[in-house]
Amino acid sequence: MEGRPLEEAELIEQAKRGDTEAYAEIVRRYQQLAFRTAFVVTGQAEDAEDAAQEAFVKAYRALPHFTSGLPLRPWLLRIVANEARNRRRSAGRASGLVVRVSQDRPSVDAAPSAEAALLASETRTSLLDAIGQLRDDDRRVIACRYFLDLSEAETAEVLDLPRGTVKSRLSRALARLRLALATTDPPTTESSDDR
């Protein structure tokens, strides 16, 4: 797009009038979050792509019903999550979510906080090991809240849980994580964070 990037509200209004270019720009802005959210739900990249694409198509059709002025993100996430859950159900398989970290440091676009730089690689390894020991439900709620940085309300929508259950499940997941960490010996060698 040329010139000043359009505000989201302007894009929404244009898309409501049938402007697929404007809608494509909306998709561009949310596609990473939508895809990753679908991935957390389905555990499969292919299913996540299909779910996210279909969700955006359905959202376009539903756009005339979207109330202008409300935040688009939770509305989109709800549609993405519904589609991802349906795919997971219809696939008839329960793909566990596998959490991996990149060998590389985060990109500039995903710049870590100053604190992030301090997280020692051996601690990351221990943390990943401990996450790997958790139940899949625990991994998903942790992924939503801490890795995707969703709010409690958004996490509830994505996982199709009451908000109170998100809170209690998260608390239990963190407790189990601490327990797993307590029983994991810190690595004595240098970083092996590519596991």
Binding site: E25, R28, R36, A52, Y60, H65, F147, D149, R178
Partner: protein
């Protein structure tokens, strides 16, 4: 430098998880903007029909009746058939548009392949269009019968399994709407007629899903085995029951 012992209280673990977030390796994000735009262009010709019935106007009045399909027994204070209860609520939903929300256009064969139930069909003729929709968590199939000229929707038959874990569909109607118990074959049903009413869905937690609204006209709702069926557009209770009894 952090170490394992640092992570034995909740806030430290939370901090460590947040620090881990930027390093999480996801599969590469596909170019959805391009694929979605292409899909929208391809499907434009298959957009769902729109109702043009004048009756379907926005209702702004307060008292409403909600039909809650399924479990909702704790909420039910009035009528009820198996898997269907009628409850009274105080607050009407926000406005609705006139567009039908039928889901994805599919062939009858595709709909049957995807549906977790045998699709029941009226004996009168094959549907002009078929739609499938799983947005609410309920797999729903809608048969569309068009007017002879093809420019308007004459009849809609929607069916879905009343799944016990869902609180299910809610139908809210404005004042002046009558709800009458009827018999369809040997099954109980309800004929809801009068003012416009709104079809919404609630999720398993009982909260209303945001993309829920469409207005419908007089409607017959009944059950056939595990299926709940809804018939709209028949014009009269008698015609609706007659059509419903021909569905098999």
């Amino acid at each position: 430098m952090t170490d394992n012992r640092r992570l034995h209280d909740e806030s430290s673990v939370e901090s460590a998880l947040r620090e881990l977030a930027p390093t999480i390796a996801y599969p590469p994000t596909p170019d959805l903007a391009t694929s979605v735009r292409a899909a929208l262009t391809d499907r434009e010709a298959l957009r769902p029909p729109r109702f043009r019935w004048r009756l379907f106007r926005r209702s702004s009045l307060a008292a409403v009746v909600a039909l809650v399909l399924l479990a909702g027994a704790a909420l039910a204070v009035g009528f009820g058939l198996r898997g269907l209860s009628i409850v009274f609520v105080d607050t009407p939903p926000p406005g609705a548009s006139e567009e039908l929300r039928l889901g994805e256009p599919v062939t009858l064969a595709e709909a049957q392949a995807e549906a977790p139930f045998r699709i029941l069909l009226p004996t009168m003729s094959k549907p002009d269009e078929v739609y499938a929709d799983s947005r609410s968590g309920i797999h729903q199939v809608t048969l569309v019968y068009r007017s002879p000229a093809g420019d308007e929707v004459d009849l809609l038959v929607t069916q879905f399994l009343a799944r016990p874990e869902l609180d299910a569909a809610v139908k809210q109607v404005g004042p002046g709407t009558s709800v009458e118990a009827v018999i369809v074959g040997d099954q109980e049903g309800f004929w809801i007629a009068g003012e416009p009413h709104v079809l919404t869905y609630v999720d398993p937690r009982g909260s209303v899903i945001e993309d829920r609204i469409r207005l419908v006209g007089d409607v017959l709702v009944w059950q056939a085995g595990d299926l709940t069926l809804r018939l709209e557009g028949a014009g009269s209770k008698e015609a609706a029951v007659q059509i419903a009894e021909s569905i098999e």
